[in-house]
């Protein structure tokens, strides 16, 4: 099955943008312009971009801290994301939450992330439940990781979705490590997707570094959910190419494992496919990268010139106004 060129072009742009924004964030953190922690998602671009491209504009998703691509595909401008990283008032959370956390905006169908994974699955089940009750032809998609699969909520949420046959898609980004803890300490089985059968939903394993494979699998699950077929679990095998966060050099990861996955870079994989189909050449790639750098320069200038929030407003926003 060959995916259409316009879809692949959008995917390519989004994955390159996610990678470039990630690199720029790392650079800015090293310059101490970004404070606090910083999370890289390098290696995850195919999953977040493919899964979010498989959604329709009215669908919703709950990304996590490795899903920069999903935020971009759903329409969050890099300006707001960099302003978020800089802790500015113009950031998505207006300085309230850190880096990739709390970047929610339901106008874009994005739920704000919290560190307590897999909260994304619980909230997505609620949204899918509401969608089903309202009888709307929409789908809710949640991302989680191999580590959070060990949490009780992963079980509760998957079971909930299956019991109520909700229009939900669950994307496990199995990147081998949860902070320093390897997969073997999280589970005894080879594929997390095997658990889907225990809940009464389809489960499948895909190469998470192959955009086309992820897209085809998620699109099928989205279609199934939209048609009333209930939830699906898709396990995307990938590798976390950087540490848990920027402070972590992940010396605990065997170098040969990283070297092996470096050969399977998701962007290189997609670009090889594009070149094979005559959809990309060196000039086009150079032009795309230049365009992205320009966009990020503009976004960074916006973020850096944005005001910080006023410390006097620290109490503002704890409660929504209204009510008795």
């Amino acid at each position: 099955m060959q995916l259409p060129p316009d879809l692949l072009a959008r995917a390519h742009y989004s994955m390159r943008l996610a990678r470039a924004l990630d690199d720029r964030g790392t650079f800015l953190h090293k310059q101490s312009k970004i404070v606090g922690g910083y999370f890289s998602q390098i290696g995850h671009e195919a999953i977040s971009v493919a899964a979010s491209l498989a959604l329709g504009p009215d669908d919703v998703c709950a990304p996590m801290h490795r899903d920069l691509g999903a935020y971009l595909v759903r329409g969050l401008h890099p300006r707001r994301i960099l302003a978020q990283y800089f802790g500015r008032a113009t950031g998505v959370s207006r300085g309230r939450d850190a880096n990739l956390h709390g970047m929610g905006d339901l106008r874009h169908g994005i739920v704000g992330f919290i560190s307590h994974l897999p909260a994304s699955l619980g909230v997505i089940m609620g949204m899918a439940h509401a969608i089903k009750l309202k009888g709307e032809p929409r789908v809710a998609l949640g991302f989680f990781g191999d580590g959070s699969a060990s949490q009780g909520l992963a079980h509760e949420a998957m079971n909930w979705g299956a019991v109520f046959q909700l229009p939900a898609v669950l994307i496990c980004e199995n990147n081998q490590y949860a902070y320093s803890t390897p997969l073997t300490r999280q589970m005894r089985i080879e594929h997390l997707a095997e658990r889907a059968a225990a809940y009464g939903m389809p489960g499948m394993v895909v190469d998470g570094n192959d955009f086309c494979a992820v897209y085809v699998a998620v699109a099928a699950a989205v279609e199934r959910a939209r048609a009333g077929g209930g939830p699906s679990l898709i396990e995307c095998k990938t590798m976390r190419m950087r540490g848990h966060a920027i402070h972590d050099n992940q010396a605990y990861v065997p170098p040969e494992l990283l070297a092996e996955w470096a050969q399977r870079d998701p962007i290189a994989h997609l670009e090889a496919h594009l070149r094979e189909r005559g959809l990309l050449d060196d000039d086009a790639l150079a032009a795309l990268l230049a365009q992205i750098e320009q966009e990020l320069d503009e976004a960074q200038a916006f973020a850096e010139s944005s005001p910080y929030p006023d410390g006097a407003d620290v109490r503002e926003g704890v409660y929504a106004a209204g009510g008795a």
């Binding site: 919703v60 998505v92 959370s93 207006r94 309230r96 939450d97 956390h101 709390g102 970047m103 929610g104 905006d105 339901l106 739920v111 704000g112 919290i114 307590h116 909260a119 699955l121 619980g122 909230v123 997505i124 089940m125 609620g126 949204m127 899918a128 439940h129 509401a130 969608i131 009750l133 309202k134 009888g135 809710a140 009780g152 909520l153 509760e156 949420a157 079971n159 909930w160 019991v163 926003g317 704890v318 409660y319 929504a320 106004a321 209204g322 009510g323 008795a324």
Partner: protein, 345 residues
Amino acid sequence: MTWDQGLHKGVVTLADAPGATRELSYLEAIREAMRYELRRDPAVLLMGEDIGAYGGAFKVTQGLFEEFGDARVIDTPMAELAMLYAAVGMSFEGLRPVVELQFADFISTGFDAIVQFAATNHYRWGQPVPITLRAPGAGGLRAGPFHSQSNEAWFVHTPGLKVVAPATPADAWGLLISAIRDPNPVIYYETKYLYRSLKGPVAEGEAGLVPIGKAATRRAGEELTIITYGAMVHEALAVAVQLEREDRSVEVLDLRTLKPLDEAAILAAARKTGKVLIVHEANRTCGVGGEVAALIAEHAFEQLDAPITRLAGPDTPVPYSPPLEDAHRPGAASILKAARALLAY
């Protein structure tokens, strides 16, 4: 009304009967408040364990499943954490879920969803979370350590939540409706002890609404102020009546809302009598009473004529055997003793 007939087609306005009241038990007031909101607003739904055809562990939701159907009175798996996350997710989709925790004690299994997620969304990314959690709490029913807890202080300490604790059928009705309409997560502590033991007048319709954040003076007095909430309001009132026979004048302030506290009412009541006794069933350390005492000490110190006194459950689990539970739970006798000591100070 089913989802198909009413959902998202706008809020129904029910005709009020101004001035009309009816006599309801505390439990009936809770049920009728839910019925009223379910009829009025198609976005409201109930969710919980055994709340449908069975009518709930305490039969609070009895009859609602029959009237509103399984799309609006939803029996769930036994999974509070997923349930509470799902409630937040439903609120993101425009619904207003009212979740019944079977016992307030079980709320701990859903803790993350409440204190980490529901409570923080608006501050972090501006997203309101209009959910109501009904928590049947408190003791006096010989129900033991896991069916008698008064754990409201956990949530009073958490920014982003509101916490209410009605003591009368009228407040049970009025505060529940206010909680359901509030755009924030509200934990509604209902007192199991009062479910069937207490009846009272409830104003019908919109006239019966009780605002969140307002305490109520249950009895005016001059010499001592008892500040309390929940079932202890009635114990305090019994003490005030007893002391009146001895020509002593005691004021009783029912907090009704524990977060946000009605600071103005608390300080006014403390300044009025100069002597304050704070009573609650919840255990003492870092309980709501500690916050009330600190507030008074900070702002009304110069009007005080005696040390602020707390009477609370001891720092133990709530025990089962009657002599042990009676020793744990404050009541008219222990309140009377503490009140007399303060009056004599």
